[in-house]
């Protein structure tokens, strides 16, 4: 069966520090991978998606970047965090246009 791992679960970082969130998927090949952000009481905002290694589509110009160094690994990064980067970050995977499955999320607080 397929599983998705996302870590860390919580993170507190100072303004101006770098960020690296990692997501890995097991049990499937060549998945579509997604990074979403969810502000408190708000909907899911798509940040990046990837249909293959090295292929990244950015939805929202911002202080973040994404990379897909391996087929089932998706990384969300920032060189310098802003207060506005605080939020709940979710990784997800899907096959083609079927349903997506989500990780448990990372709660990021920038102080």
């Amino acid at each position: 069966s397929q599983t998705i791992h996302q870590w860390p679960a919580t993170l507190v970082q100072p303004v101006g520090s770098p960020l690296s969130l990692e997501c890995t998927v097991e049990g499937t090949s060549n998945p579509n991978l997604y990074w979403y952000r969810q502000a408190a009481g708000r909907g899911l905002q798509l940040l990046f998606y990837s249909v293959g290694i090295g292929q990244i589509s950015s939805e929202v110009p911002q202080n973040l970047s994404a990379s897909r160094p391996q087929d089932r690994q998706f990384i969300l990064s920032s060189k310098k965090l802003l207060l506005s980067d605080s939020g709940f970050y979710l990784c997800a995977w899907s096959q083609g246009r079927a349903e997506a499955f989500f990780g448990q999320g990372t709660r990021l607080t920038v102080v």
Binding site: Q6, L46, Y49, L90, R97, A98, F102
Partner: protein, 111 residues
């Protein structure tokens, strides 16, 4: 551009009081619809996929239905453990791999 609208934004029920959540969408060609449940601080959990108008899916106290313009999530005799935010999403259109999510309905079931 595809749009997904969920109503109501919040719903408060007494235990055993049945009700329905609505998900309406404007898409170019029905490609199906996904329902998710999200508990606070967790990633969305996949519930149902509906692909064609008239289709119905059931899981415990939940039943999802689909028409050409909207989907309903019927909750029969809810229990407090059904309290969560319920999200719907439509699959990506051709040439895109982006899921389009509604903002969700926050359901609270009081004992």
């Amino acid at each position: 551009e595809d749009q997904v609208t969920q109503s109501p934004e919040a719903l408060r029920l007494q235990e055993g009081e049945s009700s329905s959540l609505n998900c309406s969408y404007t898409v170019s060609g029905l490609r199906g619809l996904f329902w998710y449940r999200q508990d606070p601080g967790k990633g969305p959990e996949f519930l149902f996929t509906l692909y064609s108008a008239g289709e119905e899916k059931e899981k415990e106290r939940l039943k999802a239905t689909l028409t050409k313009k909207e989907s309903f999530l019927h909750i029969t005799a809810p229990k407090p453990e059904d309290s969560a935010t319920y999200l719907c999403a439509v699959p990506p259109r051709g040439g895109s791999e982006k899921l389009v999510f509604g903002k969700g309905t926050k359901l609270t079931v009081n004992p």
